[in-house]
C-alpha cells in the first residue's frame, strides 16, 4: 500500500511536469496566434485586443496555471480554426481511438503469449526456426505498409470493407468492429513480433536457472516446469514491455487512422498541427502524454504485484 501511495505521488508530479512541458512547447512557437486568426485585416489594436481576450498578455506561468485549472475543470479552450470547444471536438473522436488501441492491445496479448510460449517449448524446432525468420520480417515492415497491404488484400481484392469508408458504432456494431479490426492489426503486427521474441528469450533464460533444474530433478516434465515455475518469472519483463507497447500503440494509431481514414484523435492531431490550430493539438498531446504516464504507473503497480522482491526494495 505504501508502495502504491509513493508511486501515486510520483504519478501526480510527473503528470504535472508533462503538462507543463506540453504547455511550454506550444508557447515557444513563433508567431502570435492572434495575427494568424485575424489574417490580412490585422491592425495592431485588433491584435492587442484579441491577445488580451485570449489571455496572451499575461506571464507564461500565470497562463499555465489558468490553463491547467480550466483543463482539469473540463474547459479545454476553443479551437482557432473551427471556433468550437476543443473538448467537444476531441470527445467526439476519442472513443474511436480508444477502441482501436484496446483492440490492438488485445490482439497483441492474445497472439503473442500462446506463440511465445509455444516457441519456447519447442526451442530449436522447425516451428521455432520458421517463426524466428517470420518475426524478423514482421519487425521490418512499417505499420504504414502493413496497413496499405491489408487495404489492398481485404479492402480492394476481397471487399471485406471499403477503404476510406467508416461505420460508427451506433450505426452497426459488427461492421464497426470489422472497420476497426484491420487498423488494429496493422499496428499490432510488429508489436506482436517483438513481444513473441522477448517472451521466448525471457522464458528460455528462466529455463536455464537452478530452480528449474531442481524442478526437473523432482520429476517435473519440461512443459510442467515451464508452465508452473518459469512462466511466472519470465512474464515480469514482458509486463514492462507491454506497458511500452500500450504507449506505442497510441502513436501507431495516429498512422493507422491516417491509412484507414478512421476519424480518431490521431487524425485530429495531424490536422490541427498542419492548420496550426494549437489549442486542439495541445489538448490531444496532453491527453496522449497522460496516457503514457498512467500506463507506466499501472505497469509499476502490476510489477510489484507479480514480483514481491520489488516491493521490499
Amino acid at each position: 500500500m505504501k508502495y502504491v501511495l509513493r508511486k501515486l505521488t510520483t504519478l501526480i508530479i510527473t503528470l504535472f511536469i508533462v503538462s507543463l512541458l506540453a504547455f511550454l512547447a506550444f508557447q515557444v512557437i513563433p508567431g502570435s496566434p492572434a495575427t494568424n486568426m485575424l489574417g490580412t485585416n490585422a491592425t495592431p489594436e485588433k491584435i492587442a485586443a484579441l491577445e488580451a481576450e485570449l489571455g496572451f498578455d499575461q506571464p507564461v506561468l500565470v497562463r499555465y496555471g489558468n490553463w491547467l485549472t480550466d483543463f482539469v475543470c473540463g474547459d479545454w479552450g476553443t479551437s482557432y480554426s473551427y471556433s468550437l470547444p476543443v473538448k467537444d471536438m476531441v470527445m467526439e473522436k476519442l472513443p474511436n481511438t480508444a477502441a482501436l488501441v484496446l483492440l490492438a492491445f488485445l490482439i497483441v496479448v492474445a497472439a503473442s503469449f500462446p506463440l511465445g510460449i509455444a516457441l519456447a517449448k519447442r526451442e530449436g524446432g522447425k516451428l521455432d526456426k520458421c517463426m524466428t525468420v517470420i518475426n524478423q520480417v514482421c519487425m521490418s515492415i512499417p505499420p504504414v505498409f502493413v496497413g496499405i497491404l491489408l487495404c489492398f488484400v481485404f479492402g480492394i481484392t476481397l471487399k471485406v470493407f471499403v477503404p476510406g469508408g467508416f461505420v460508427t458504432f451506433s450505426e452497426d456494431p459488427v461492421t464497426f468492429l470489422i472497420y476497426m479490426l484491420f487498423p488494429a492489426l496493422s499496428v499490432a503486427l510488429c508489436r506482436i513480433a517483438m513481444t513473441v521474441k522477448m517472451l521466448r528469450s525471457s522464458i528460455l533464460d528462466e529455463m536455464n536457472k537452478d530452480y528449474i533444474r531442481t524442478a526437473f530433478s523432482r520429476g517435473r516434465t519440461r512443459a510442467d516446469a515451464l508452465k508452473k515455475h518459469a512462466l511466472r518469472n519470465a512474464i515480469i519483463p514482458v509486463i514492462a514491455f507491454l506497458a511500452v507497447t500500450a504507449a506505442e500503440l497510441v502513436a501507431g494509431t495516429i498512422i493507422a487512422e491516417q491509412v484507414f481514414a478512421v476519424p480518431g484523435i490521431g487524425r485530429l492531431l495531424l490536422a490541427s498541427i498542419s492548420a496550426r490550430d494549437f489549442p486542439v493539438a495541445q489538448a490531444i498531446v496532453v491527453l496522449l502524454a497522460a496516457w503514457v504516464v498512467i500506463v507506466n504507473f499501472i505497469a509499476d503497480i502490476l510489477y510489484q504485484y507479480m514480483d514481491p522482491r520489488i516491493r521490499i526494495q
Partner: protein, 285 residues
Amino acid sequence: MNVFRFKNQKERPESLEHKDSPNYYWVIGMAISALMLVLILVGYVWTPYSTTEMSGREKFLSPCLSHPLGTDNFGRDLLSRIMEGAGSTFLIALCVILIGGIIGTIIGSLTGYFGGMADVVLMRVCDAITAFPSILLALVLIAVIGMGKYQIILILGILFIPSFARVVRGEVAKQRTLNYVQAARLMGASHMRIIFLHILPNTIQVLLPILTIGFNNAVLAEASMSYLGVGVLPPDASLGRMLSESQTYLAKAPWYALFTGLAIVLMILGPSLLMEGYQHRKRKG
C-alpha cells in the same frame, strides 16, 4: 528425461553445433543490403528515366520490359523514382544516426565515465524521453519548428540521442573499472584520452547493434512522418511520401504501393539480418 537438453547453446557439446552450416542471416542480409546500396548509390548519379518528366501516354503501366517496376500516375518510371526516394530516405536516416550517434556517444561516455549528479539527471531525462512514443514527440517538435527535410533530420536526430547515450553510458561505466583503464591512468593519460582513445574503441561491440537499430528506426520514422504529410515536403523525394501518393491509386496500380513499400522493407530488413548474423557469429566464435 535428459536434463542436458535444456542447457543453452553455449553449454552444448561442440559436435551438436552445426559447425559448417553457413550463416544464412549473414548471407541473405548481405545480399539485400548490397542490392539496396547499389540501387541507392547508382540512383545518386544515374536513373534509367528522368524522375520528373511526365508522360500522359505511359500512365499506370504495369511492370514490363521497358519499365521493370511499372509507372505511376504521371507516367514516371517507378524504378527511377524509388531509386531517388530511397536515396533521399537513406541520406536522412544516415544524418539522423550521425547526429544522434555522435552527440549520444559523447554524452554517454562523459556521464558514464565521470558519474555524479550530471549522470543521474541526464539519465533521468533520457528515461523520460524514451518513455514517450517518438512519433508523438516528433509531432510536437514539428508543431514547434515546422516541417521539411532538414527539420525532420534535426528532430529525429535529437530524439535518437537518448538511446545512444544510454547504451554507451552503460558500457563505459562497465569498462571504467577494468584494469587497462587504471593502467592508462597510472601512465598519466588524461581523462579525455582514456575515454576517447582507450574506452570508446572497446564499446564498438555494443555500438554496432544500436547503430543498426537506430538506422532502421530512422528509416521507419522518416517514412511514417513523410507518409503523414509532416515530414519531407515536395519537391524533395521520399519513400514515405510516395507511399501516401500511391495509396490513392491502390486499386488502379497496386504495384506502385507494393514496390515502394517493398523498398522500405528491404532497406530495414537488410541491416537487421546483418546484425542478427553478426550476433550469431559472435555466439559461435
